[in-house]
């Protein structure tokens, strides 16, 4: 049964939302989803770019009141 993991990286300067996502994906099973919350505008571009590079699935990306919610499915 696929799980969804939440990474609350709001206000994170170091190591940053993308690195938090990479760390979370290590512990996720293939098919699991990881949802990243971020207040860092750069991550809204960095994360989809990296997901595309390493061939995971971008499930959704939403922004409300300065908070991005990005959901990724671990594909491999």
């Amino acid at each position: 049964m696929a799980e969804r993991h939440l990474v609350d990286a709001r206000g994170a300067f170091c190591p940053g939302p993308l690195m938090e996502l990479i760390a979370a994906l290590r512990h996720a099973a293939i098919g699991d989803e990881v949802e990243v919350w971020s207040t860092d505008k750069g991550s809204a571009a960095d994360i989809p770019a990296w997901i595309n590079k390493v061939h995971h699935d971008l499930v959704s990306i939403n922004e409300a009141d300065g908070r991005w919610s990005i959901v990724i499915r671990k594909a491999k």
């Binding site: 990474v7 994170a12 170091c14 190591p15 938090e20 979370a24 990296w50």
Partner: protein
């Protein structure tokens, strides 16, 4: 019956909490209203940042260690008997030897560990300085190195956020002093699209790398290492050759956290201001063990520990909360063998590294000695 405070973990975070509580709760300890005890894995306390200096011959191994029994306040019984299972419902901790310790307040300070075993080929093919054995082997490899390609490979998550840049700059100075810099090339790899997780640090590093002739490859998440072919390959499809591979291995938390079902990867979900375990009002998490998206650094452990000391003492003495942790981190950063800078930030103030200087490098060298005052709760 005394209120029992149990600290699991004898590293910096746990030791500062123990020593700080002894200072603030001296009356309660004297009257036996409070009892504090600690579980740890080693009779020795190691100054971990000193490991960076060992491969370059800048610190002796013996300078990194003191007896934990001498660093820890004598009023705290210290059991060299690691925790095997933590039960937050029954409020007990079971140890490796089979003993059970009950608590009223628990402080989990179990830290983090390197996991080179999680990347194929890393244990056989790479060097690191994140434990003493690795630092020794890297020291020998650098002694024998006569020029060639060095890859400094960074994996997430890891403790000591600036160490990858520090070792890169120190390597460059080391090679220059050895007279083999002109026969060598350093390539630094990083998992995201810049040189460091902290964007201001990454921007600061770009001209420093250019000045030092250091190459880089970003968006490099290590997939595997071939020790025979001496290549390292990324998830993104890139392969680099090396003559010497220095890695910052990926880290996890301790096995006891996972086995106790307290957190994935060994990181315990922690409330960012109170440092209480999410869902608990009597379990504090401190240092690398938290799942907080902040640096896993000694200074983080120190500032978190200070907050927990104030809050635990206040709850016991005055039945109220003292203050919140504001996310503060302060890291010195060596920029070679003879210069350094620093960076500090918190949840609301971004980092802004200043220009390197000899003075700050000397301050760092001084702190390498003054660390024991921090561990004792005095600095």
């Amino acid at each position: 019956m005394p209120k029992k405070i149990l600290i699991v973990g004898g590293g910096l975070a746990g030791t500062i909490v123990a020593n700080g509580l002894c200072r603030q709760l001296k009356d309660e300890l004297a009257s036996s209203a409070v009892a504090i005890s600690m579980l740890g894995a080693s009779p020795k306390h190691m100054y971990q940042p000193g490991l960076l200096y060992v491969p370059f011959g800048r610190m002796r191994e013996s300078e990194l260690f003191r007896d934990q029994r001498k660093v820890l306040d004598r009023r705290v019984p210290y059991f060299i008997d690691p925790a095997k299972h933590i039960d937050t419902d029954k409020k007990t901790v079971l140890t490796e030897s089979g003993k059970s310790h009950a608590y009223d307040f628990l402080v989990i300070a179990t830290g983090s560990r390197i996991r080179p075993d999680t990347i194929p080929g890393m244990a056989e093919g790479a060097h690191w300085f994140y434990d003493l054995d690795g630092a020794r082997k890297m020291r020998d490899a650098l002694r024998d190195f006569q020029g060639g390609k060095i890859v400094v490979n960074v994996n997430a998550p890891h403790k000591c956020p600036v160490a990858p840049l520090e070792v890169t700059f120190m390597l460059r100075d080391f090679l220059a002093a050895k007279g083999v810099l002109d026969k060598s090339e350093i390539t630094y790899t990083y998992p995201i699209g810049r040189l460091h997780g902290l964007e201001p640090v990454a921007q600061w590093a770009v001209p420093e790398f250019e000045r030092g002739g250091i190459k880089s490859e970003t968006f490099f998440n290590t997939k595997s290492i071939d020790p025979k072919a001496k290549t390292i390959t990324s998830e993104e499809g890139s392969t680099l050759n090396y003559d010497l591979l220095v890695t910052i291995p990926p880290h996890t938390g301790q096995q006891v956290i996972t086995d106790s079902d307290l957190g994935k990867g060994g990181w315990v979900p922690t409330e960012r201001n109170t440092l209480l375990r999410e869902g608990s009002n009597d379990v504090f998490i401190v240092g690398d063990t938290t799942n907080l998206p902040i640096s896993k650094a000694g200074s983080t452990a120190h500032f978190e520990a200070d907050t927990i000391v104030d809050n635990l003492s206040s709850l016991i003495k005055e039945d109220r909360w003292a203050r919140n942790y504001d996310g503060k981190v302060f890291c010195f950063m060596e920029t070679g063998l003879h210069s350094g800078t620093y960076v500090w930030f918190n949840y609301t103030t971004p980092p802004n590294p200043g220009p390197p200087s000899q003075m700050i490098h000397w301050f760092k060298l001084a702190y390498n000695r003054m660390y024991w005052l921090s561990a004792s709760g005095l600095l």
